[in-house]
């Protein structure tokens, strides 16, 4: 029987140049791999691979040199550590994330939690072409949000609480958009100039700035044969519910209009960015 390479690819088996060998892509969400999973991966790589793994550019783990006829055994070994194959091909790929607010002092949002929720909603969904989500915790952008078809960046809407303030001036100093000025014993925030980075909140030595987490979303990033930075088409997205309405609208737009083998960016170029913007604005406003 002929080998169904498309089906294998959908199940994370990447055909190697070496005959009958596959690099098995594993499912990883947000770059987090438990010790138990690492043990199972090590066992599988030792028994069915060549004693090593490859870490992919998008936080994936692959076990090269797996034989086609050993697929079931390797899956069984991996299952013991709760590891399952990932995906390749025209569908929603690994959701990537930095460590975010759980670990990083700069993080504005719970990136892991969001990556898991995105994964639960979309991972593996069949589409005209690959579709990537990436979540980064803040504007330092360690996870490079704009490389993704949909990139999500942690941000904050900020509010000054005068009672706590000692007027030290640190917030004015750290603000990169010069949105903060100290004037006559008051701190003025120019809302239009604020880029929601949250650095005032993070650097304040007395908690006089309060920050409410939100999301900046970019659309249509691609970083392969063609390079294009995702476009930010919306104001700060204030909550998860709104965020998922927006991501639903974006992915449904892609599913509806894309030609087979066409990346999101080029669908937008062809169909019209205005049309996408209209859809996601509608979703944004509920």
């Amino acid at each position: 029987m002929a080998v169904d390479y498309a089906a294998l690819k959908a199940g994370g088996f990447m055909r190697q140049k070496q005959k009958n060998r596959f690099s098995l892509r594993l499912k990883v969400v947000g770059g987090k791999v438990t010790v138990e999973q690492l043990r199972a991966i090590a066992d599988a790589a030792e028994q069915y691979g060549q004693d090593y793994v490859h870490l992919t550019s998008r936080q994936g783990v692959e076990i090269p040199y797996v034989r086609l006829e050993e697929i079931d055994q390797v899956k069984e070994t991996l299952a013991q550590g709760d590891v399952v194959p990932g995906v390749c091909g025209p569908r929603v790929r690994t959701v990537t994330a930095c460590q975010g607010a759980a670990i990083c002092p700069s993080g504005c949002i719970d990136t892991y939690g969001l990556a898991e929720e995105l994964d639960a909603h979309y991972f593996g969904r069949e589409l005209p072409h690959k579709f990537k989500f990436g979540v980064t915790g803040c504007q330092n952008n360690c996870l490079k949000a704009e490389e993704n078809d949909v990139g999500i960046k942690g941000a904050m809407s900020v509010h000054w609480n005068g009672e706590q303030c000692i007027f030290c001036g640190v917030c004015e100093k750290v603000c990169r958009t010069k949105a903060i000025r100290i004037e006559n014993g008051e701190i003025k925030l120019e809302e239009n100039a604020c880029n929601h980075c949250g650095r005032c909140v993070k650097s304040c030595p007395v908690d006089a700035w309060e920050g409410t987490p939100g999301y900046l979303v970019s659309f249509g990033g691609t970083f392969g044969n063609h390079i294009g930075k995702g476009e930010e088409l919306l104001p700060l997205v204030p909550d998860r519910e709104t965020l998922f309405r927006v991501t639903d609208a974006a992915i449904n737009f892609f599913a509806q209009y894309a030609k087979p083998g066409e990346r999101f960016r080029f669908t937008c170029d062809r169909v019209g960015w205005d049309k996408l913007k209209e859809r996601i604005e509608e979703a944004y406003h509920g």
Binding site: P105, I166, C168, G169, V170, S203, C204, P205, V206
Partner: protein
């Protein structure tokens, strides 16, 4: 503003991160609960990070003033760690 009594002084203008914070931390450890440390620190990265780190360690930032010469003066009151 009423004058604050300073119990100890430390100058961190001659060191860089992370030694800046380490020097402050060590100086605070020498103090009793409620005593005040004056820190002389550089503009730029130290002034953006040291006051916040001190707060995150549980101490109280009382004042931060611009010396106008590229340095700042930070007053921190030691708050004893309850678990210590």
């Amino acid at each position: 503003m009423a004058d604050i009594q300073i119990d100890e002084r430390v100058d961190i203008t001659d060191v860089v991160c992370p030694v800046t914070f380490v020097k402050v931390k060590v100086a605070l450890e020498e103090l009793e609960d409620g005593q005040v440390l004056e820190v002389r620190l550089n503009d730029g990265e130290p002034v953006q990070n040291v006051p916040r780190s001190v707060k995150e360690e549980g101490h109280k930032v009382l004042r931060l003033t611009d010396g106008g010469d590229g340095t700042y003066r930070l007053l921190v009151q030691k708050v004893e760690d309850e678990d210590a």
